[in-house]
């Protein structure tokens, strides 16, 4: 190590302090606390590092069903929102008129808090709600959409919340694509649908990934919407965490569930990256000289 680096190392650390220090204090420490807490026990007299809580978590069907339900409530709205946001984003770019029309409309849910969105869906889709009353004269009976076992009401409410976020991010990513690239694709013989699949989608991939990540994490940990619109059984882990903590005082279980939820989130996102990262990469035209 030479003189210059020795002098600069403390300065460098000092410069890093605001960023790294902030992350350590407000992110790292609580996360470690949660992780460590999950290895303690609720029962008096247990020694500290114990797998009791984890054993209980994985041995209780209610919790395991809750885990699957959490993943379902995270994935389903994300997929649904993506199916709406992708074409919506492409449409908004297609011409000025649709940009103005959708541009204002899609922002509305952005400013409505989750709890309000939950109640909106409740009022409209609950049995005896607006949708049911409108359908009744037509002789139609709507399926159970609120507090149903598939969590359809919660999925609808979550999607309603995340579609604007997704559209905002994806349309931004699509708008940054060079217009001449799209024009070039058209002169080469590609119609709008082909351009969407082969040019806009792959080029907007970073934006789509960001949108998927935000929506998935948001829906996975959502508490308000499933407690309002979800079924009595199974309860997603987010709702179980609340009950374990505030009703049963079982904080190690809260920590264990929180850790599990985070690990699952990371795992699913890794799978997502593995799938999406490999698509759209240029394949050689032929096997020759490769």
């Amino acid at each position: 190590m030479n003189e210059a680096t020795r002098v600069r190392t403390p300065v460098l650390l000092l410069c890093l302090l605001p960023g790294v220090g902030y992350l350590t204090v407000f992110f790292g420490v609580p996360l470690v606390r949660v992780l460590v807490g999950s290895f303690s026990s609720n029962k008096p007299g247990e020694s500290f590092p114990t797998l009791d809580t984890w054993a209980t978590l994985f041995a209780t069907p209610v919790y395991l069903d809750g885990l699957w339900f959490s993943i379902w409530l995270g994935l389903a709205p994300t997929v649904l929102s993506l199916l709406v946001s992708l074409p919506l984003s492409a449409l908004m770019l297609a011409n000025e008129r649709s940009r103005k029309l959708f541009g204002a409309l899609y922002r509305v849910p952005l400013v409505v808090p989750g709890i309000v969105a939950g109640f909106l869906v409740l009022v409209i889709l609950d049995r005896g709600g607006m949708a049911a009353r409108l359908a009744a004269p037509l002789g139609l009976t709507l399926p159970r959409l609120v507090r149903d076992e598939w969590g359809l009401g919660a999925i609808i409410a979550s999607s309603w919340k995340s579609i604007p976020f997704m559209t905002l991010i994806i349309s931004g990513a699509m708008a940054s694509i060079n217009k001449e690239v799209l024009s070039a694709a058209r002169t080469l013989g590609a119609g709008r649908v082909t351009i969407f699949w082969r040019v806009q989608m792959p080029l907007a991939k970073p934006g789509i990934t960001a949108a998927v990540l935000l929506s998935f994490i948001g829906s996975l940990g959502s508490f308000v919407i499933p407690s309002l619109l979800g079924p009595a059984y199974p309860l997603p882990l987010s709702v179980s965490m609340y009950r374990e903590g505030f009703q049963n005082g079982n904080w190690p279980m809260v920590y264990a569930m929180g850790t599990l939820l985070s690990v699952v989130a990371i795992g699913i996102l890794l799978v997502y990256y593995a799938i999406v990262g490999s698509t759209g990469r240029s394949q050689p035209l032929s096997k020759r000289d490769s």
Binding site: E180, S183, A184, L188, G189, S282
Partner: protein, 352 residues
């Protein structure tokens, strides 16, 4: 197939602004035509209308005997090269070139063969597997060219393809473009604001201004015998001198008298003398003008000469003449005959 292009009374409005004011233009098959004009003259809009990327407000565009305005751009089979190269950044070079063929459902072995041939034609065969961002600007534009010609287009369209390149690359690619177009014989329309580029490349130049065609002609005709002052000043440098024409002759400010090539012209704005046609000779005696300033440019020396209160420009070529000092008195020699310039009148129906 007849690959001539015919444009009839083409009008394009952007809101309340009329950017194309009823253009008529015929381009014969196999010709290389340049649309030349200052920015905002409508040349790019015209090109985009031919490509189908921009929809004209009214008027007709014909490809041979087929009317194509209203035909989607993907159905026109026109190759287009853009200023920003417009390559697909996520596809390899060969995938970029293959794109148009894949859209045409060409069989896979044929695609591989034609892509390789097109890349060899532009000298980039060895870069087939790279991504566009790994290539220089000039190479990227060559790929764009390969991508446009591999589909065997009816017409090739160029939208200022050399503007983003540095001077040296621009020159070499310009030569390649010319050679290639002559070899392939594809009808080409080329938009540029660079008069040197226009003259070097085109069979024919169409000069545009404010959404109208000023005049068209071969580079030599437009440069040597432009009808309008606008053309004369846009194509290269020129001295425009107030003209007094009597009995087919014109008296120049320093007293010389020369015959006029086109004495019956109306709306005359002056006469044109190209700087390279105005030669100077230093003198100690009676002089026509005085050198105000000079600029040594290597191959030529540019002089600004004060003649009766006006400044004229002269270009002296040849490596053996000394660069004259400022303040040096000179005699001027005008070309043997002079050419009158008209003023360009926008058509009466035109809205601006």
């Amino acid at each position: 197939m007849d690959c001539s292009i015919s444009i009839r009374n083409l009008i394009k409005d952007f809101g309340s602004t009329r950017v194309l004011k009823g253009l008529d233009l015929n381009i014969s098959a196999g010709r290389f035509v340049t649309l030349l004009g200052p920015s905002g003259c409508g040349k790019t809009t015209l090109l985009r209308s031919v490509a189908g990327i921009s929809d004209p407000t009214s008027g007709e565009i014909w490809l041979g005997h087929r009317r194509i305005d209203g035909v989607a751009p993907e159905k026109r089979n026109f190759g287009m090269v853009f200023q920003t190269y417009a390559l697909f950044p996520h596809m390899s070079i060969e995938r970029n070139v293959a794109f148009g063929l894949e859209m045409r459902r060409v069989a896979k072995p044929d695609i591989a063969r034609r892509v390789a041939a097109a890349l060899d034609l532009v000298g980039l065969g060895q870069h087939a597997r790279r991504l566009p961002r790994q290539l220089s600007g000039g190479q990227q534009q060559r790929v764009a060219l390969a991508r446009a010609i591999v589909i065997e287009p009816n017409v090739l369209l160029f939208d200022e393809p050399l503007s983003n390149l540095d001077a040296k690359l621009r020159d070499s690619l310009r030569e390649d473009l010319r050679t290639l177009q002559q070899k392939l014989g594809i009808t080409s329309i080329y938009v540029t604001h660079d008069q040197t580029e226009a003259m070097a490349l085109a069979d024919e130049i169409v000069v545009m201004k404010d959404g109208e065609i000023v005049e068209r002609g071969t580079p030599v005709d437009l440069y040597r015998r432009p009808a309008f002052r606008f053309t004369a000043e846009f194509l290269g440098m020129t001295n425009v001198i107030d003209a007094e024409v009597r009995a087919g002759e014109c008296r120049l400010p320093w007293g010389a008298v020369r015959p006029v090539e086109n004495p019956d012209e109306r709306n005359v704005e002056g006469i044109a003398i190209r700087p390279e046609d105005l030669s100077i000779e230093s003198t100690d005696g009676e002089a026509d003008g005085v050198i105000e300033q000079s600029m040594f440019m290597g191959a030529a020396t540019h002089y600004w000469i004060s003649v009766g209160g006006k400044t004229l420009r002269s270009i002296a070529t040849g490596g053996h003449t000394a660069v004259l000092d400022n303040g040096q008195k000179v005699k001027l020699t005008a070309p043997p005959s002079l050419h009158l310039l008209r003023s360009f009148q926008p058509s009466p129906g035109a809205v601006s």
